[in-house]
């Protein structure tokens, strides 16, 4: 499903990634690990065409992403849910509206939005807080909203960049459990983290990009 072959990324003479090779199969859960600055975020960003490799190829569902036209990038991103360390929620919109945004950009409106958003908010146990604004929620709750927004489009892949970076251990466990539950339903997950405890909790394949 996802294939990185001989991927290099450099900014001038500074190489972030050197000859990165790995594949991810459909329905798999993998951890991408490495110290800060190793290129974990860059690796994930390449999958949503936010970064492009200096050399090598990144393929998603058999399509080489470097060859993608700018107008096709939004449609690629709708197939991939992205969860950020800093949540990236819109502070002037409620929990419900933030999650609904994921569907609205795809052209889904009305009753479908109400049904899908309600379902996903129940799954992340935030339905009762649907009318609250993100800033009134705890860090863990905000991250659950971000996960709900990423998953409401029913993406084929969920990318999570240090999703528990700002959270305590107990909350991190809840977040991992939620992500795992969606993985069990068939969503492929790539989670970037340097947290060894989280990797232990996840019990999944680990790609250490320090070696690349």
């Amino acid at each position: 499903m996802i294939e990185f072959s001989h991927v290099y990324k450099n900014y001038d003479k500074n190489y972030i990634l050197r000859d990165l090779n790995f594949t991810v199969n459909k329905g798999e859960f993998i951890f991408i690990t490495g110290p800060s600055g190793a290129g974990k975020t860059t690796t994930l960003k390449m999958l949503i065409a936010l970064e492009s490799p200096s050399h090598g190829a990144v393929k998603f569902l058999g399509t080489e992403l470097q060859g993608l036209k700018p107008r096709d990038i939004p449609f690629l991103r709708r197939k991939i849910g992205f969860v950020f360390q800093d949540f990236k929620l819109l502070p002037n919109r409620t929990v419900f509206q933030n999650v609904a945004l994921g569907l609205e950009v795809s052209g889904i409106f009305g009753d479908v939005i109400i049904k899908n958003v309600s379902e996903i908010l129940k799954a992340v146990e935030l339905y009762t807080k649907k009318d609250e604004f993100p800033l009134s929620l705890s860090g863990g709750e905000q991250q659950r909203v971000a996960i709900a927004r990423a998953l409401v489009q029913n993406p084929q892949v969920l990318l999570a960049d240090e999703p528990t970076g700002n959270l305590d251990e107990e909350t991190s466990r809840i977040i991992i459990d939620i992500i795992k539950s969606f993985n069990n339903k068939g969503t492929t997950v790539m989670l970037a983290t340097h947290d060894k405890n989280l990797i232990k909790m996840g019990r999944a394949r680990v790609i250490d990009i320090t070696k690349s």
Partner: protein, 296 residues
């Protein structure tokens, strides 16, 4: 498919409303300046239309009036006129008959003429030219010759006034066009600044929308709607303001005063309003396009 497009547009309007709400002061400022520029545009057009309409009331005339100085020898002047080619007839009006002439011609000034001393009025000669002899060059040539004649105080003919109005019209056209162009660019710049402000304030939000799969159109169309809402509202306010001023000052305050000078002020017709409205719409679109182009 159609219902999805309707939903898309409904959503664009919703986002535009949210954008306006989140930048209420910036939009209010832009709205005020745009209203002002559209008002000036409409006012200029109104002035031009009225000057043009006033000018069209002047008919082509073959008459020239030669006003004489006090104690001037009329026979010398009449002899000179008699030798001119193209003259159909001449009528001499003494200062006394000048009054009768005025009373007959400007009946609406009767109340003023009543208190006037006929001795203060000049004697004059009215010359009627043959139709085939009248041309701008011919009349201006005669005008210059008569003006230099001894005993002649003033020479007046309609064509001269007409020419002066044409010159004035040309001047107003040039100045109006420059002002119009300036205001058009100003309104583009205002739309540009208002939308640019929205983009700068919402850069984070735009980034998030892009990350979750929003197309450029999804982000830009609400901005165009926002720009156009501002433009349409500004235009409506300016046209209503101009109409209110027209109603108040022309019909209720200066109606009779202007009538005195045979000036009848007319308001812009729907086609003229539509042209300015179109210009306003284009300025809104251009401003939004230029401001958002830089970011996409």
């Amino acid at each position: 498919m159609i219902s999805q497009r309707v939903n898309y547009f409904a959503n664009y309007f919703k986002i535009a409303a949210l954008n306006i709400k989140s930048n209420i002061s910036g939009n209010a400022f832009a709205f005020l300046i745009m209203s002002f520029s559209f008002f000036i545009m409409l006012f200029l057009l109104l002035c031009y239309i009225n000057i043009y309409s006033y000018m069209s009331t002047f008919r082509k005339s073959n008459v020239m009036l030669v006003f004489l100085k006090n104690n001037a020898k009329k026979d010398n002047v009449l002899n000179f006129i008699g030798k001119l080619n193209g003259v159909k007839s001449t009528v001499y009006y003494s200062d006394k008959s000048s009054m009768k002439f005025l009373e007959k011609r400007v009946k609406h000034l009767k109340s003023i003429l009543k208190n006037m001393n006929p001795d203060n009025l000049p004697a004059f000669i009215k010359i009627n030219f043959k139709d085939n002899a009248v041309s701008g060059i011919f009349l201006s040539n005669i005008y210059l010759r008569l003006k230099s004649l001894k005993g002649v105080k003033l020479v007046y003919y309609n064509k001269m006034l007409q020419n002066r109005i044409v010159q004035f019209m040309f001047f107003t056209k040039v100045v109006g066009l420059i002002l119009f162009l300036f205001l058009f660019i100003l309104s583009i710049f205002i739309s540009y600044s208002a939308i640019k402000l929205v983009i700068l304030r919402k850069q984070g939000e735009i980034e998030i929308l892009r990350l979750i799969g929003a197309t450029n159109n999804y982000i830009r169309i609400p901005m165009f709607i926002e720009g156009e809402i501002g433009t349409v509202l500004s235009f409506l306010v300016s046209i209503l303001l101009l109409f209110a001023i027209y109603k108040i000052f022309i019909f209720y305050k200066f109606d009779s005063f202007l009538e005195f000078f045979r000036i009848k002020i007319i308001f812009l017709n729907p086609q003229q309003i539509a042209v300015v409205f179109l210009i306003a719409i284009i300025s809104g679109i251009a401003g939004t396009y230029l401001s958002s182009k830089k970011f996409f």
